[in-house]
Amino acid sequence: MTNLKFIFGRLAGAIPTLLVLICFAFFLVKSAPGGPFDFERSLPEEVEKNLREAYNLDDPLYLQLTKYVGSILTGDFGPSFQYRDYTVTELIMSGFPVSLRLGVAAIFLALILGGTIGTIAALNQNSRLDYSVMFFGMVGISIPNFVMAPLLVLIFSIALNILPAGGYANGAPLHMILPVVALALPQAAYIARLTRGSMIEVLNSNFVRTTRAQGLPLNTIIFKHVLKPTFLPVISYLGPATAAIITGSVVVEQIFGLPGLGRYFVQGALNRDYTLVMGVVIFYGLLIIGFNLIVDTVYGFIDPRIKHNR
């Protein structure tokens, strides 16, 4: 019951967040130098005038903002400046499934891989196994996406010729393997480190040590008392991990030529595609707000000591 109340409270609280976000995005974009109608070949005046009119650019800023917020409420993010045959809503809806598929797969891979590695390392703290596992974890952190991705392509697509070098192919699993791996590796490494550190801390806590002293078998202790507190910081990290995956997907989408939101986003910013940039920002904002809500809720379930303030 309290959880339901908490969730509704947070949902209601999300509205001002979104408004702030929209205004922030709006004014940031508006103050950027270089306009959407700067082309190599300059536009005739009359044409530019009509363009500005068509996109409401001549209205005072507050009016533009109100109109924009109004149309967002109806789910309309306006027409794209760059992709003139499409609306921003259409573009987001076509890019999002790609990014979602990529991101979700990468998060899961990172969690499973990182969690396992971290646990193994913690249970064998300071052993050779611990060192070598964490060592390779660190290799994962140390290699940037944009080196890892072409390296994977070079090995698996060019040299071995067993996986495609790029393209989305409507999400065919074979095409997703390399992008997902390239995206997940650094996050897996972070999660492994976090898991290891946190688990060692829990294992060394008075509580666990007391339980051990009482003679409970190690496995029982781990499954009953260690895993939950161990993964609290990991769950806390899911937010940043998602943000990192979104950022990383910009690189991965570009290198593998995937039609995801990350690419629209960069293209939009570069082309001064006001509406597309704002659309993507707000959309990501919504996602992150929703995601944080889920993380907080889960956190509350796992660690009942935290009382929701609402």
């Binding site: 270089g34 044409v47 005038k49 009509n50 045959d85 010729n161 030529g257 039609p259």
Partner: protein
């Protein structure tokens, strides 16, 4: 833990050695192409080309840039078309007559020209389309290209209704276009997408959604089948095209990949048949490993650095401009920095048809002599080692622009002692900076001709041209251009343009650096592509040969 470190170093060293051996080529060349006859065709006639970026729109009248025109050229056809090597050839118009004064063109529309839904293509379609192109309400980026047509300028400026445009349907299959002046390159312009016909009923029905695959009716050799933004554009053969009998390809994929290195790897993994360009830092490797598949051809484009003539230190300091121009070793840039066979440029306009600019005298000197002269001029301009010039070069973000800028900065420093700061800006900011002329000193410029006539370059430096970013303003230059545009085609007109260019080079508001080349990697099983000056490659001329794996031994 030391084990860990040494392990890591060993791994890196191993990788390094492995890499070294590998840099002998890792390419997939085990193919027999064309079967026994060498020209046997593949069963699947599918062509996969990288298009470099996503087109903003496929509305031919609003489209901008190379990427959109590459697709539009396949799915639409104008009055005039192009052959594989870039010659103009009858398109929807099977023939035309030009009046003696060169101001009235009368086109005979082909009787078998059809839209993809079976409707005939008529003169009225062109009247509708050209009016639509110049109508400022269409929001076209290129409408100013049509200024040679009678009244076009006034229509674009909103001072006249589009019905007054000098375009009339004399009969359902006869179209007349009146021009303001005789415009010798007008036929060439008629192969540009701004002049393509659009299907009136679907434009009126669907508005700006008429370019969706499910709505688009077009008249080219192909029709739009699928358009997945940032994924691919798929066009497939148009059975209603008047010359469908000579089309071989069934489908063409246009990919919007903007990363030249991943494009290269995808090409190597046989996921692409054709690349839009090649990454210049990979050229040495490509020349070693894929030499047979690299196709380079002169491209009607000019790469230059412009001075801001409206500000210090370059406005009014001619010796300084000349000193900087001379101190650049263009051969180093074309051969070492770029290396694809670009042509060192001492004139602004690339040679085209009968036209070639007259290079300044120092173009024939050795670089040492040029450097010597440059140092003299530099001193004359009021600078020396104790009092060096400090300037800023602004260019738009791109690997090649960066390399050229670094090279030039280093040459200026080594020859003259000039301190050059580099500033790269992303495209839209760059365009604004350059247009405003407020804080530019030296800027990168590049121009690809819109049609094959020197005028497409000459007009860039006209004092009233909006793209004249250096702020060069010379009455004599403007007068020579005017005199040229009043003349019909021929040596006299070209002479005017040549004089204008020489005059400009004498003032040196821009430093010509090199003429572009087009660079493509093309798979050996692709035939029918020819290099041409405008880098137009139409799918209707392409065939895919049969390919089989060499039996591995």
């Amino acid at each position: 833990m030391r084990n860990g470190f040494s392990l890591f170093f060993v791994a890196i060293l191993l990788a390094a050695c492995g890499q070294d051996e590998e840099s002998s080529c890792l390419v997939d060349d085990g193919w027999v192409v064309g079967g026994e006859s060498g020209s046997e065709l593949a069963i699947d006639q599918i062509f996969r080309r990288n298009n470099g970026a996503e087109p903003g729109t496929l509305d031919p009248h609003r489209a901008e840039g190379v990427t959109a025109s590459n697709v539009l050229r396949d799915i639409f056809e104008g009055l005039v078309a192009e052959t594989a090597n870039g010659e103009y050839t009858p398109g929807v118009a099977e023939s035309w007559v030009i009046s003696d004064d060169g101001k009235v063109y009368t086109f005979q529309i082909r009787s078998d020209a059809r839209w993809s839904n079976g409707d005939p293509v008529t003169a009225d379609d062109f009247v509708f389309s050209l009016r639509r192109s110049v109508d400022p309400k269409t929001l076209s980026n290129y409408s100013s290209m049509l200024y040679p047509i009678k009244n076009a300028r006034d229509v674009v400026r909103g001072e006249m209704s589009s019905e007054e445009l000098g375009v009339t349907a004399l009969a359902p299959d006869v179209l007349q276009i009146k021009l303001e002046e005789s415009t010798p390159y007008f036929i060439g312009m008629l192969s540009h997408s701004i002049t393509y016909p659009v299907h009136r009923p679907s434009v009126e029905l669907y508005g700006n959604q008429f370019t969706r695959p499910e709505n688009l009716v077009s008249n080219g050799a192909f029709v739009l089948a699928e358009w997945k933004v940032q994924d691919y554009i798929l066009v497939s053969r148009n059975k209603n095209y008047w010359n469908d009998a000579s089309t071989t390809l069934e489908q063409v994929f246009f990919y919007p990949l903007d990363n030249a290195n991943s494009t290269l790897t995808r090409y190597r993994a046989n996921e692409l048949d054709f690349t839009d360009t090649v990454p210049s830092e990979q050229l040495p490797w490509i020349k070693d490993c894929l030499a047979d598949e690299l196709h380079v051809a002169p491209y009607f484009g000019s790469y230059y650095y412009g001075f801001n003539m409206e500000k210090e230190p370059f406005g009014g300091n001619k010796p300084l401009r000349h000193a900087l121009a001379m101190a650049i070793d263009r051969t180093v840039i074309t051969e070492l920095v770029l290396g694809a066979g670009q042509i060192p440029a001492y004139t602004f306009i690339p040679p085209v048809k009968d036209y070639a600019g007259i290079p300044p005298e120092w173009a024939t000197w050795t670089q040492e002599d040029r450097n010597k002269k440059a140092r003299e001029l530099y001193r004359e301009a009021g600078y020396d080692e104790a009092n060096p010039l400090a300037i800023e070069v602004v260019y738009n973000t791109s690997e090649n622009h960066k390399r050229v800028a670094l090279a030039i900065a280093s040459m200026w420093k080594q020859t003259l002692g000039v301190e050059t700061a580099l500033r790269n800006q992303e495209w839209k900011v760059f365009l604004e900076t350059r247009r405003l002329k407020e804080d530019t000193e030296i800027f990168r410029g590049g121009w690809i001709g819109d049609y094959d006539d020197p005028y497409t370059f000459s007009e860039l430096l006209h004092s009233e041209n909006e793209m004249n970013h250096s702020g060069f303003a010379n009455e004599d230059y403007d007068a020579l251009l005017k005199s040229a545009s009043e003349k019909s085609a021929g040596a006299e007109r070209l002479k005017d343009l040549q004089d204008a260019e020489s005059l400009m080079l004498e003032t040196m508001p821009v430093i010509p650096l090199y003429f572009y080349v087009s660079q493509h990697l093309i798979k050996p099983w692709i035939v029918g592509l020819e290099g041409n000056a405008l880098d137009h490659h139409q799918s209707k001329y392409i065939k895919i040969l049969k390919r089989e794996r060499l039996p591995s031994d």
